[in-house]
């Protein structure tokens, strides 16, 4: 079986494709680059407890079995609850505390939505999880009529529409903006030369260092960034790592700071409406074909591949019939996608006459091109045929469960030494003992009469016994003596004598 390609999430795939160094000191309009950072300190709480701004509530996360406060609402903070407290301590501070579990997916989604929204202010938006994003505002100043206008619009929309508590900082470098926003400073620094004095009083917490280095710095008496700048950078790099020095230099704009640009994830949806009802499957095919062709054009334009798409058939009254077409690996060949849709459609009949057909695809992948063999037309290239289109077609009709590959497994129990299902790489080498080509799914009990064992006729032993006593640890223990036998008619058989209480004879395999 071909190993499935590692599925890249869409954003991952962008990371390596579009790593852009966005540290232009000047934008295309000749304006100085200004980075506007927005930090949403209560994001984790706001996504789970919307519409209750005055509630005394906390979001907790579980770390090593301990429930710790992740984010506390403003009113909770006034009661003395702070992040990092245990839930018990927080409940003691405030008995009527409302507790929410952290929802990282919702938080991530909200941040994505905010980034998409922020694209109206600047073409360059960059996400900084868990709760910040950056946008390049310098290029948009003329369009919006001043930086203040941009900041005001963002502030208004964040408060009124999104209902977020936030903090925004604008400086000439992205790192400095992020640091200031995360430290809760609402300010604008337009000149790079002023950065050092603005950043100086910030606590070293904004560097997001690990606990060990934070403690080390604390021990040396370093509390704020200004203390760091007073230290010689060579020694600082030696003791605390070059990344710390690099980070500081990036904040001051001495080093470039590449960012990942946020792009709206692509989505494909296309619809065909009919002015009349279609109730024949054959007449639907050309329509589906047209839609699939559209999807393939879209994939080609975006240089993407898809692994599943849906075809929805709308009826006048009945609920929508949906065909879900899943693939085993990312694909964009039109003929192939169409063949699968056809196969699926021939198996599923729309419930009633169709008035509208819609095709949607949401999950896309970008795929590294296939390895080509060094010598064109070599034997390997010609013969190593890709069987996946065929398997795809078969599993579309028969269901994925009908297709099984077989692998070996390191177990002395014969029934566990062979496994069906998705291959998990090369299995272990089996024992050298003689094994049958066919194994019965369930051993068949043999007739034992007058001291003889009968299958089709009386079985004579040829080889054996091979004793297998194992598996006592998982309640499927076996104690068996295996023999190779022959009944003179059907060839060699693999039988065993159950040594446990049952003392019976069973047929377990055929040598084929």
């Amino acid at each position: 079986m071909p190993r499935p390609l590692p599925a890249l999430s869409f954003r991952d795939s962008l990371l390596y494709r579009e790593e852009e160094a966005c540290n232009k000191t000047e934008t295309s309009t000749g304006q100085q680059a200004l980075w506007l950072a927005v930090c949403l300190p209560k994001l984790a709480l706001e996504v789970v407890a919307a519409d209750q701004p005055d509630e005394i509530s906390v979001v907790v996360e579980e770390i090593k079995g301990r429930k710790l406060v992740h984010t506390a609402s403003c009113s909770a903070e006034r009661m003395g609850i702070s992040a990092g407290m245990t839930l018990n301590a927080a409940s003691t501070c405030c008995p009527g505390l409302k507790v929410y579990r952290i929802n990282e997916i919702a938080r991530e989604k909200r941040l994505d939505a905010l980034a998409a929204w922020a694209l109206q202010f600047s073409p360059m938006v960059s996400l900084h999880p868990p709760c910040s994003f950056l946008l390049e505002a310098g290029g948009s100043i003329n369009y919006f009529g001043g930086l203040t206008a941009i900041r005001d619009t963002i502030a208004r929309e964040l408060t009124e529409r999104w209902k977020h508590v936030f903090c925004q900082a604008t400086t000439p470098t992205p790192t400095a903006s992020l640091m200031l926003a995360q430290a809760g400073r609402n300010l604008v620094v337009e000149r790079g030369a002023d950065l050092r004095s603005v950043l100086g009083p910030l606590s070293i917490e904004v560097l997001s260092l690990d606990d060990k280095r934070k403690q080390q710095l604390n021990k040396t008496g370093v509390r704020i960034l200004r203390d760091l700048w007073r230290l010689p950078s060579g020694g600082l790099a030696r003791r605390f790592g070059t990344d710390l020095v690099t980070h500081l230099d990036q904040a001051l704009g001495k080093l470039p700071d590449p960012l990942n640009a946020y792009r709206i994830p692509p989505r494909f949806s296309d619809t065909r409406e009919f002015s009349f009802d279609i109730d024949e499957q054959q007449s639907l095919l050309p329509v589906v074909h047209e839609l699939v062709t559209g999807l393939c054009d879209f994939l080609q334009q975006q240089d993407l591949y898809t692994m599943d798409y849906q075809v929805h058939f709308y009826h006048r009254q009945d609920p929508v019939t949906m065909l879900h077409i899943g693939l085993r690996q990312p694909i964009r060949q039109p003929g192939y996608l169409m063949m699968l849709a056809e196969t699926k459609l021939s198996r599923t009949k729309p419930a009633a006459a169709v008035v509208r057909v819609m095709l949607t695809a949401e999950r896309f992948y970008s795929v590294a091109p296939r390895t080509r063999y060094l010598l064109p037309g070599s034997d390997l290239e010609r013969e190593d045929q890709d069987i996946s289109p065929l398997l795809e077609q078969l599993s579309t009709r028969l269901g994925a469960a009908a297709l099984k590959s077989i692998t070996t497994h390191a177990d002395h129990r014969p029934e566990y030494a062979c496994r069906a299902g998705a291959p998990a790489g090369a299995g272990p080498a089996p024992p050298d003992n003689r094994r049958p080509l066919w194994l019965l799914p369930k051993p068949r009990e043999l007739l034992n009469k007058d001291g003889g064992i009968y299958y089709r006729s009386r079985i004579h032993s040829l080889m054996g016994p091979e004793r297998i006593v194992t598996g006592w640890w998982d309640n499927h223990g076996i104690q068996r003596d295996y023999y190779v036998g022959t009944d003179g008619i059907a060839g060699h058989v693999w039988i065993y004598h159950d040594l446990t209480t049952r003392q019976k004879w069973y047929l377990h395999g055929l040598f084929g």
């Binding site: 065929l390 297709l403 062979c418 069906a420 094994r435 066919w438 008619i489 060839g491 060699h492 040598f511």
Partner: protein, 210 residues
């Protein structure tokens, strides 16, 4: 043949000798068993045709006959499809027979015979597998003919395992496989029931190792 006749055959492109046709070109796939190759027209399994293997019971030695072919196919990285196998193909034995089990795929057995036939036809037409083996008992001749066409179009050999011999089967090769027990020597007795391109049908004893 006298001289004048020979002259006639040589000079007239519309005439040929029947012997030449029957001998055929050795274009079969070697079975890996010398005695079996000797009795098959083409010197091996037909390349793009349906082979019917008739055994009284499953496990009589029919799979043993296929082992060398499976080995060479998987070594060439070609896929082998097993449609509706009656039991579990036992991976340790297949590995011991030097077959790369990464290239085996079983389909079924819990699928309807309609689906099974559709699977065989699609697989043969797709040209993407090296060998297709199917265990199906109830096959009308019309269906076999259709599979024969698919195998021909897809240039893929197809082996159908059956318990009973069908009358006037359109398969390119019909082989009866029986177990022959001669003391400790285990063997398979194969008898050609029908072979395209042969006018005399022979039988062979094939020794089996192990």
């Amino acid at each position: 043949m006298n001289n004048s006749l020979r002259e006639l055959v040589r000079n007239n492109p519309h005439l040929w000798s029947g012997d030449e046709v029957c001998q055929g070109k050795p274009d079969g796939i070697p079975t890996g068993h010398a005695s079996l190759d000797a009795i098959l027209p083409g010197g091996g399994w037909p390349k793009n045709a349906v082979v019917e293997m008739i055994t009284p019971h499953w496990g009589t030695g029919e799979l043993q006959l296929m082992l060398p072919l499976m080995k060479s196919m998987t070594r060439r990285r070609r896929w082998i499809l097993w449609v509706c196998p009656p039991y579990i193909p036992y991976a340790p034995a297949l590995v011991n027979a030097d077959i790369d089990i990464d290239f085996l795929m079983t389909i079924g057995p819990n699928i309807s015979s309609r689906d099974a036939l559709w699977t065989i036809e699609k697989a043969l037409q797709s040209q993407r597998c090296g060998l297709l083996m199917a265990w199906l008992n109830h096959l009308p001749n019309g269906v076999i003919r259709r599979l024969q066409l698919a195998a021909d179009a897809g240039n893929t050999p197809c082996v159908l395992f059956r318990n009973q011999r069908g009358k006037n089967s359109p398969a390119a090769l019909q082989l009866q496989v029986e177990y022959s027990d001669r003391g400790s020597d285990r063997g398979i007795h194969a008898r050609v029931l029908k072979a395209r391109g042969a006018h005399q049908y022979h039988s062979a004893d094939i020794p089996c190792p192990g």
